[in-house]
Symmetry: C2
Subunit: 233 residues, 2 copies
């Protein structure tokens, strides 16, 4: 039984990596659809959401089986429960990719508003956060997970800046209001993806340190470049 | 051991009811802060988010202990895993109450834009969805849960209508753009709360019918007023 359990854990990891890659790719492609005003690509992403939903159900079922049949305890139990949450977070990230693709589709039908600068940068940081959070989970790398938590501030700043610029634009050119709203929606969806990546990173720290970092993210460790011990809440 | 387990399950239900009430109350109060331009109330809601975060941690720990010590299987296992997801969803609902309170705070600092009609109605429907989803979970009432799934369409319609009206307003009076954006943000946050209530309702149907309704919500049962059997996916 023990060997079987180890194999099932490995299969679970592999499936979460696949799902994470798919979610990441969906976000990247949705942003490309927006920037290149590619309505076909946007429609394709919307249609492909079924795949990530199917992955969530499959992984969820595997986790329930693992819990019921193997009755794991301690570290294994915490790892599997973290996998369950991450499975849910990745499915939500897929939904945000669909939201971005829907905004891209609407946006492609109107006039472009202005050269984007911060939005591609925000997409890049978000993508890196998502990748690093999954990576940190698979390798139980809590230093990498803590770096993800810190990146979330960058995203919040970028989102604020993008929204402020778009509000100024709407004020100057009311005819562009709907187009600007599409872009605000994209920015907010990227912010949510970054939040969900942060949730994943928090799970990693939680499993690694058996410490709830979740609602204490602002209490950063004294040195952020290396592993720091948890502060008791 | 068995009696102990039953008691712990009851305690888990009680705590989820408490957390659900608190989340519901936070949403209702955040909307009141918006409508009555009550900045003090908004600040109070923001400050109280700590409480719901603490509840999430406490319930999460209790669930891990239940799984580790009692090693439940079958229906009990599914119920407990659903409780874990619902715990997470309720904490997110608390975050949306904070977002609404933040918008209320900003909004209270400027000019009111126009008499609200659809926003209070949307808040009311959302509140009922949240309450009914928790109720359905506690009483394993999948007919009530299915009714929640159907209400989500009302919310989507209201959100679309509110956003369209506010876009028209921004176009007519660009000076009100930021105030209108605050209201769009509130509408989106209510929509997310309704989504999360829908997630809770999906869990209930899942536990009750051991059938994944999640990504098939559009396949509504033929009769919506009574319990209908699941359609195989």
């Amino acid at each position: 039984m023990q060997r079987h359990f180890v194999e099932e854990l490995e299969a679970l990891k592999t499936n979460l990596i696949k799902m994470g890659s798919f979610a990441e790719e969906s976000i990247v492609r949705a942003i490309r659809a927006l920037l290149e005003r590619d309505a076909d690509l946007a429609r394709e992403i919307i249609a492909q959401d079924e795949r990530i939903n199917a992955m969530e159900i499959e992984i969820g079922d595997a986790i329930v089986d693992l819990l019921a049949l193997q009755q794991p305890v301690a570290t294994d139990l915490r790892f599997i429960l973290a996998a369950l949450k991450i499975n849910n977070d990745l499915e939500r990230i897929g939904d945000h990719a669909v939201n971005i693709a829907e905004s891209a589709l609407k946006y492609a039908g109107g006039e472009p508003v202005k050269p984007f600068v911060d939005l591609p940068r925000m997409a890049q940081v978000t993508k890196a956060m998502l990748r690093d959070s999954i990576d940190a989970f698979i390798h139980a790398d809590s230093a990498k997970a803590r770096a993800v938590l810190i990146s979330d501030d960058t995203i919040d700043d970028l989102n604020r800046k993008i929204v402020a610029e778009l509000v100024a634009l709407m004020r100057a050119e009311p005819v562009l209001i709907e187009q600007a709203l599409d872009l605000i929606r994209v920015s907010r969806n990227l912010e949510r993806v970054a939040d969900l990546s942060t949730n994943i990173a928090e799970e990693v720290v939680f499993v690694a340190e058996a410490h709830v970092v979740k609602h204490h993210a602002e209490e950063k460790p004294p040195s952020q470049s290396r592993e720091a011990g948890p502060n008791p809440a």
